[in-house]
């Protein structure tokens, strides 16, 4: 069996995204969706609902009265916030594992994914792109292909890195040459198989090469900028490091400056630290046990 075929078959064996997550994404993709429809898409998943209520009632939100239902959570915290939390819960188990091929310890890919999701929402606000739920979800799932390619990258890591260093390829070009696929394109296949809404599939598939689309897509640009910012800041990055192509045209299209990127980065980090505290407070394994509690000699 050829390597390419083997990798494609692997996509087929991935556990499906939970029905509730798929349904939720379809609702998110519909700007006219109502609170009732959103509740409907979540409420049959007991595990997610109870985890959501636990987080909503954590000290973080500082609510004076307990939230006891999904509808109440949506009304008091806002639908966008609730959707973001639900999607983060859904993807946690999938993304939290170690991805050794990419040099990502347990928790690192999830942290990176949540950071890109948050950054995507921040960029969307800056460039006034509507549909925050969709933007967040696209950011959250952009690197899903790494979960499939991980073991293949591990086998061929030395060759991929050699091509990056000697032939001046970026990491995904090297993946494509050595393995037949890059993680973004495999991610697109997974998203199709999961029947995710088309805009999300596009974001996953083109998060490193937004200019491959004609016409370009503001949502894809958005995820590209968010991912680039998080790579720069080193949030949950692995051995592929920053070996991806910078694309100044995307910044020009949205009239963003280098300073805007800095601002996006600063906001992302502040929000990421808040979200991490939500998840590390509960039963989700932290990325690095030592990193969750500050040593008393840390000054800042």
């Amino acid at each position: 069996m050829s390597r390419c075929q083997e990798i494609l078959d692997r996509v087929g064996t991935l556990p499906p995204l939970p029905d509730t997550a798929v349904k939720l994404m379809q609702v998110v993709n519909d700007p006219a969706a109502t609170v009732e429809e959103l509740v409907e898409a979540i409420q049959y998943d007991q595990a997610v609902t109870s985890e959501l209520l636990r987080i909503c009632n954590s000290a973080f939100f500082g609510l004076s009265r307990r939230i006891s239902s999904l509808t109440e959570a949506m009304i008091r915290l806002g639908t966008v916030k609730v959707l973001q939390l639900v999607m983060s819960i859904h993807t946690n188990s999938m993304l939290v594992r170690e991805q050794a091929g990419y040099g990502l310890p347990p928790g690192a890919l999830w942290k990176h994914s949540v950071a890109v999701a948050l950054a995507s929402s921040i960029v969307a606000q800056k460039v006034k792109l509507p549909n925050a739920g969709l933007v967040f979800t696209a950011g959250l799932l952009h690197d899903i292909g790494k979960v499939v390619l991980n073991s293949y990258v591990a086998d061929d890591f030395a060759e991929i890195v050699r091509r990056v260093a000697e032939e001046k390829l970026d990491f995904r070009q090297a993946e494509e040459q050595v393995l037949g696929f890059s993680h973004d394109h495999i991610g697109g296949r997974i998203a199709e198989q999961w029947r995710l809404p088309e805009p999300i599939v596009r974001c996953i598939q083109h998060h490193h090469d937004p200019d491959a689309l004609d016409p370009t897509d503001p949502l894809v640009d958005n995820v590209y900028l968010a991912n680039s910012t998080c790579l720069l800041l080193g949030i949950g990055i692995g051995e592929d490091g920053l070996c991806y192509r910078a694309n100044p045209a995307v910044m020009q299209r949205h009239d963003l400056s280098e300073r805007d990127l800095e601002d996006i980065g600063a906001q992302t980090l502040v929000e990421l630290k808040r979200v991490e505290s939500l998840f590390t407070a509960g039963d989700v394994p932290p990325a690095n046990p030592a990193a969750t509690g500050q040593e008393h000699s840390n000054v800042s």
Binding site: G234, I235, G241, A246, E258, A291, E295
Partner: protein
């Protein structure tokens, strides 16, 4: 004992058994300082050059920016008895995305700001490993002052 210095964080120690560690330096810069006479070590992992971007964020967390964080790092080390003229200073990070046009250059601006700060304050860099497109992990042993740097499959002493 490892003391983890997170992104936008700084730490100092005078415990000779302690090792200050920072992971995943991309365009951010890690500065490790060490006074060998009193065995005081310090490390910062700052993410952006200039606090004028957001004075409120700098107030809440000076270690986010070079111009507020690096002076805070030195001050914290002085409080433990370190002296400027004995300080050994090592620098790593400041990586970039692959780019021929010099955009997305937070790493470069982070480094330029550090040089400027050190120039004004008469501080010399003893060793550095900056630039490129790699992620770096830096460790400083407070007891020995040894700084090691790991990136991809390369591990060196700085």
């Amino acid at each position: 004992m490892d003391i983890i210095v997170d992104i936008a964080d700084l730490a100092v120690s005078n415990d000779p058994r302690a090792t200050l560690v920072t992971h995943s330096l991309g365009s951010c810069i890690g500065v490790a300082i060490h006074d060998p006479e009193v065995h005081v070590g310090g490390m910062i992992h700052y993410m952006l050059p200039d606090s004028t971007l957001s004075p409120e964020k700098a107030k809440a967390n000076p270690a986010m920016f070079a111009n507020t964080g690096v002076p805070a790092l030195f001050r914290a080390a002085y409080e433990l008895g370190a002296v400027k003229k004995r300080m050994v200073v090592k620098v790593a990070g400041g990586a970039q995305l692959l780019d021929d046009n010099g955009t997305f250059n937070i790493g470069k601006r982070n480094y330029v700001m550090l040089r400027k700060l050190f120039w004004k304050n008469g501080i010399l860099i003893d060793a550095e490993d900056v630039g490129g497109s790699i992620s770096r992990t830096v460790r400083l042993s407070v007891g020995t002052g040894k700084v090691s740097l790991r990136s991809r499959n390369r591990e060196i002493e700085l």
